[in-house]
């Protein structure tokens, strides 16, 4: 029988519990979120003469938690209204609700005795066969079985989310000796496809995989700072984006997580892993103990390794902790020749090689730190897992690293890595030597678009389980690229579907990408079913290459500029008007031109994490690649007889005028960037391309006919213009926008009204594109627009002039 999850009970509404509840609501589940009844009344309740029997008092803890979670930033919920899917209650009055649930997750405080009491209660109401799991990060799953019924034991395992559960991709699945294999298989698949997570099957060992290795890595850096005489700023610079890790790097991450939490895990590892060869490293250095003593725990206590202060002028400044003196000092600029050298290198693999080869202190740091990490992870097999890829998966998904330890090792080279370790006195596990003597020199292998890993027991490569059927550009790139230029590649996905991938800087759209789109559509029309436009960069696209626009505008090459904008518009139109289906599959940021490309797709298959917007106002422009035109078209399509058109015009106008960016794909629907009934959301990033490819095939197989171009867009003309002028003037008079903003607003409004026509009239897309382009070009002649573009290009900041 197929197991389905419709309703989930989350027991415990703390930071993790309420956020897990939100993420389950995100994917459409009904959620019952329960917590304890307060022990005493608070002042407000006393003042209102309430008692511990008052229903609102009884649910105060859970309701307060959920409310503050929903207010937190970044938002735990895709769309505000999804929070209505969460019903709150308490353990005393509402435990019966778990009988209706298909999955029960325990997320209460990390105390075995309390968990036991809760599970006793769960057993009273839980229907046999219902999934039950714990989100514990520290208590062995096996220990929770004591006193539990057989049915409970069979359906119980660990499901360990990482904070924040909406954004961090890791979900560790930890079976006990009694968990049925069917339950494990279910969670491995459900976590991936439904929750969008990387599910990693773990053994029931202390801190499981990600925290075991991750905390080792942090603790070893805590010691390395002293050994190598380095600073907080230096370590964070070296272990951040340059290495393919989050900006928060090491110490800032500690501040976010909270030093107390980290110390708790480290102490647990110190105590529970006596045979770990790195046990000494889990001993806290003095400065950490001192920080805990001082309650310098990070964000939660407003200071940790960093502290935000305001100077006399009210300007914020971030100070960093000098670990020797334990004084906060202004941030130092970090300078290493190796870092300078890697600056122009976009490719992470190339960069990683350069970092490790560095002749300075930075190079020394990398060699030393990674020698330890490589040895540590090799020695954790088979203790924490039998499969090396699980360690990489866990760290990548749980800590946001782009490369796992074994992947990094592959980049350095097995042999070089071993030499480096020997030089630093680190000893890898025997299986690495065995692998080497078997003539195998890499942990992973890519063959014919399929990635496999070195399986230690069989001493051979095996396909990574669960990756079957997925489509990955990284895997296909080497074997299936059939055309490429500097900024993009056309990759054959098989089954008659092509993919256009950008790889320009920040995936911006310039001449080469435009050429690539036309080439890809041309090829697809010739001999394929259709085209997907997607990539695996950090973001889908930061927008059009404004650098090019800037240069042409400054040189006053207006004819060329007109030509370039026209080419952009024509290409967007070709995305819609070609004889094959074109599906765009964006993820993370899809801004400006990247958004316009989506607006013209036959269908958008969006990742749930989609930050989409027409943000051209920020650089003093209006959407000029058909974005403005498309908003007018959609406005016209969404109107029904009797609607108040002018209010709808205002909403569409403000979405562009305020450069609104969605915080999720669902919000992109609300903002009108995505279309209900046409575009689609996929929660699993790993499945997104597969779905996009299938969409192309389906559309082609159903019989795809190029849409007809009609003169059917109703514009308002002068009926709409008045409110544009008055609105822009009022906003300027109220100092909400600058005079230049007012000017841009009037230009935008003019295009959106279809010009100054005397009455409502039906127009073609080309008419609007011409208006849009004219306004765009006019703005390019304005000094203030150029200043804005220059600010973005040189400082990465939006200038309000």
């Amino acid at each position: 029988m197929n197991r389905r999850i419709r309703k989930v009970a989350v027991l415990g509404s703390g930071i993790m519990g309420s956020r897990i509840a939100c993420h389950l609501a995100n994917i459409g589940c009904e959620v019952v979120l329960l917590d304890i009844v307060p022990f005493e009344l608070n002042d407000k309740e006393k003042a209102q003469n309430q008692s511990l029997e008052t229903p609102s008092v009884r649910n105060r803890i859970v309701n307060d938690s959920l409310t503050s979670t929903l207010k937190s930033n970044p938002s735990p919920i895709y769309r505000k209204s999804f929070a209505d899917r969460i019903k709150t209650g308490n353990f005393d009055d509402n435990m019966n609700l778990i009988a209706e649930c298909d999955w029960i997750i325990e997320v209460i405080i990390e105390r075995l005795d309390l968990k036991k009491v809760l599970f006793d209660k769960v057993e009273q109401f839980r229907k046999p066969g219902t999934l039950i799991s714990s989100n514990t990060s520290g208590i062995p799953i096996e220990m929770m079985l004591a006193g539990r019924s057989e049915d409970f034991q069979k359906y119980f395992c660990g499901t360990h989310f990482f904070n924040p559960p909406r954004y961090l991709k890791l979900l560790e699945i930890i079976p006990s000796s009694k968990t049925m294999p069917e339950v494990v298989d279910f969670f491995m698949d459900y976590g991936k496809r439904f929750l969008g997570k990387t599910t990693v099957l773990c053994k029931d060992t202390p801190a499981f995989i990600a925290n075991r290795v991750g905390v080792y890595s942090i603790m070893s850096l805590f010691h390395a700072v002293k050994d190598l005489d380095m600073t907080v700023d230096e370590i964070d610079k070296l272990t951040g984006p340059v290495l393919g890790r989050p900006k928060s790097a090491t110490f800032r991450t500690c501040d976010v997580v909270g030093l107390d939490t980290l110390v708790h895990v480290a102490n647990g590892l110190k105590e529970n892993c006596p045979n770990d060869e790195a046990n000494d490293l889990f001993q806290l250095p003095d400065y950490i103990s001192k920080m805990v003593e001082n309650n310098w725990l990070g964000s939660k206590s407003k200071q940790g390794f960093y502290k935000k202060v305001k100077d006399a002028n009210g300007k914020s400044e971030i100070l960093s902790l000098n670990l020797k003196t334990l004084e906060y000092e202004p941030k130092q600029r970090v300078n290493f020749p190796t870092l300078e050298m890697t600056k122009p290198v976009d490719d992470l693999k190339e960069r990683t090689k350069m970092l490790f080869a560095g002749k300075d202190k930075a190079g020394e740091f990398y060699r030393k730190a990674f020698s330890g990490l490589f040895a540590y992870v090799s020695n954790r097999i088979p203790e924490i897992t039998d499969d090396l890829f699980k360690i990489d998966d866990a760290l990548k998904a749980g800590f946001g690293w782009e490369l796992g330890p074994f992947e990094t090792w592959d980049i350095i080279g097995l042999e070089k890595g071993l030499k480096m370790m020997a030089a630093n006195g680190q000893k890898p596990a025997q299986w690495v030597a065995d692998m080497q003597s078997a003539g195998i020199s890499s942990f992973y292998k890519l063959e014919n678009g399929v990635r496999s890993y070195y399986d230690i027991p069989s001493k051979s490569y095996k396909v990574i389980p669960g990756s079957e059927g997925l489509v990955s550009l990284a895997n296909l790139k080497d074997s299936n690229t059939i055309w490429k230029n500097n900024d993009c590649s056309i990759i054959d996905l098989g089954d008659g579907v092509l993919n256009l991938e950008f790889h320009s800087k920040m995936n911006t759209i310039g001449g080469e990408v435009i050429a690539g789109i036309n080439k890809a559509i041309g090829m697809a029309e010739e001999s394929y079913k259709g085209l997907v436009i997607s990539n695996e960069g950090q973001n889908f696209s930061a927008g059009a290459n404004v650098g090019l626009i800037f240069m042409m505008a400054v040189e006053q090459e207006y004819d060329e500029l007109n030509f370039a904008i026209k080419a952009f518009q024509d290409t967007m139109m070709r995305v819609r008007y070609s004889s094959v289906p074109v599906v765009v599959a964006p993820h993370n940021m899809a801004l400006g031109g990247g958004c316009e490309m989506c607006l013209h797709a036959d269908k958008v298959v969006a990742h749930a994490e989609l930050y989409m917007g027409l943000v051209e106002f920020g650089v003093g422009l209006i959407p000029g690649g058909g974005g403005t035109k498309e908003f007018v078209k959609r406005l016209s399509e969404e109107l029904n007889e009797g609607d108040i058109k002018i209010n709808r015009l205002r909403d569409r106008f403000l979405t562009i005028g305020q450069a609104k960016v969605s915080t999720s794909a669902y919000e992109a629907f609300d903002l009108g960037y995505l279309r209900e009934g046409k575009d689609e959301v996929v929660v699993s990033r790993d499945h997104q391309l597969k779905v996009a490819k299938e969409s192309v095939i389906q559309m082609a197989d159903e019989g795809y006919t190029m849409p007809a171009q009609e003169r059917n867009i109703e514009v308002m003309g002068q009926e709409g213009l008045g409110i544009v002028y008055v609105g822009a003037n009022s906003m300027q008079a109220g100092n909400y926008i600058s005079e230049h903003d007012q000017y841009i607003s009037e230009k935008l409004g003019f295009v959106m009204c279809g010009g100054d026509l005397s009455e409502n009239e039906k127009v073609s897309e080309q008419y609007l594109l011409d208006l849009e382009r004219k306004a765009f070009l006019d703005l390019c002649t304005k000094k203030k627009t150029l200043e804005r573009i220059q600010s973005i290009l040189t400082k990465g900041k939006i200038l309000r002039n």
Partner: protein
């Protein structure tokens, strides 16, 4: 020609828009209820002898559209003999109607008119559902279309009214209003309205609930100058006009019965007051809040009175900035302005306000045994209005 007299007048309590007791109560129902209450108070009058019902309204569309004045005459009087019309001069509509009634009666065109106004700000957005400015004017003279809040900022800037003064003024308005409610001062004015609410309970079962609205809902007990000082400006990024020092959006209705001298004598009624004079002026739309500065002397002059003849001033109090600028520029004695609080505390149901303040000033003059009051207001798109009221008994 004889004089026109105000024989009787009532208002509803003023409800908070979108949140209060009238939030779903239709303006035509509300106005009809007040008129029924008014008619009960004058049993001598045969309703078919009423010549007209004139209803002021600042957004005559949707629930207030389709000549709501006629609808209200039908609903409130339950006869088809009495006509009805709607008059819009924004915030002075409710006073304008009384002036029209007076003028018609004194010109011999009528003997008995019900005049006043109604506004439900719950039932539509400020300015109405569909605002379509003339693009030419929008380009050349955008201030003609400015929102009232922005004009209040312009007044604050031009007349140098500080944020602190505005907040202090707002605070005092609340305190005066709370005191008046506590003392039952408004009992004389208010026609209690019974409202039935039909709703679904938690189990989606239909429920009915009846309640009486007889108390103004706007005044905030807990407010203080510090709390008001923390509110952010809402009409300009660096402005001083906040939700706390602006009038509240509200729902309300108020009507008076205006009668000829001849008919008063015939029915043996005792008139309570009369509208002595009424003056409307035009000012720069950008600073519309300043309108009363010219209107008040105009009305006084017409009535042959001087500033110091005035015993009470009911100022519409659209914004604290505007109120203070008017008080200072006109040289009004602040002690006689809005003695029972103003619209910042009590609410400003636009088209009703003129009639509501007329009812209030008459009753307050009577309580104080004084003679002359003025009802005055700033009016959208650069106008000001003032009417001098004389108490007769």
């Amino acid at each position: 020609m004889g004089q026109a007299y105000i024989v009787q007048g009532f208002r509803s309590a003023v409800g908070k828009a979108n949140r209060g007791g009238f939030r779903f109560y239709r303006p035509d129902d509300l106005a009809a209820d007040v008129i029924k209450h008014l008619m009960k108070a004058v049993p001598e009058l045969d309703k078919d002898r009423i010549d007209d019902v004139i209803v002021g309204n600042a957004s005559p569309e949707a629930e207030q559209g389709l000549n709501v004045g006629r609808m209200i005459s039908l609903m409130g009087l339950n006869t088809d003999k009495v006509p009805g019309m709607t008059v819009n001069r924004y915030c002075s509509s409710g006073l304008e109607t009384i002036a029209i009634a007076k003028a018609k009666i004194e010109a011999g065109l009528a003997d008995c008119i019900i005049a006043g106004g109604v506004e439900s700000m719950s039932c539509m957005p400020m300015g109405g559902w569909r605002i379509v400015p003339n693009p030419k004017v929008g380009k050349d003279n955008p201030t003609y279309y400015w929102g009232m809040g922005l004009t209040a900022e312009a007044v604050a800037n031009q007349y140098k009214v500080s944020r602190e003064d505005q907040d202090q003024f707002a605070f005092e308005s609340h305190m005066k209003a709370l005191k008046a409610i506590e003392n039952g001062t408004f009992k004389d004015d208010i026609a209690p309205i019974e409202v039935t609410r039909i709703f679904l309970d938690d189990n989606e079962k239909r429920q009915e609930q009846k309640f009486i609205v007889d108390t103004d809902e706007g005044p905030r007990k807990g407010t203080n100058v510090e709390a008001l000082g923390k509110l952010r400006p809402v009409f300009a990024a660096d402005g001083s006009v906040t939700a706390g020092n602006s009038s509240q959006t509200s729902d309300g209705a108020a009507f008076v019965l205006v009668m000829s001298e001849k008919m008063v004598k015939e029915l043996n009624l005792e008139p309570v007051a009369r509208l002595v004079s009424y003056k409307v002026v035009g000012v720069e739309p950008r600073i519309m809040g300043i309108g009363p500065v010219d209107a008040i002397p105009g009305a006084l002059n017409m009535a042959g009175l001087k500033m110091n003849d005035l015993d009470l001033v009911e100022l519409n109090e659209a914004f604290a900035s505007q109120s203070l600028a008017v008080i200072r520029e006109t040289g009004l004695n602040p002690d006689i302005v809005n003695v029972n609080g103003g619209a910042i505390a009590l609410g400003h149901p636009l088209g009703c306000t003129g009639a509501k303040l007329t009812v209030q000033v008459i009753n307050e003059l009577r309580r104080r045994k004084q003679k002359y009051g003025v009802v005055t207001m700033c009016v959208g798109t650069g106008q000001g209005a003032a009417g001098v009221i004389e108490l007769l008994k």
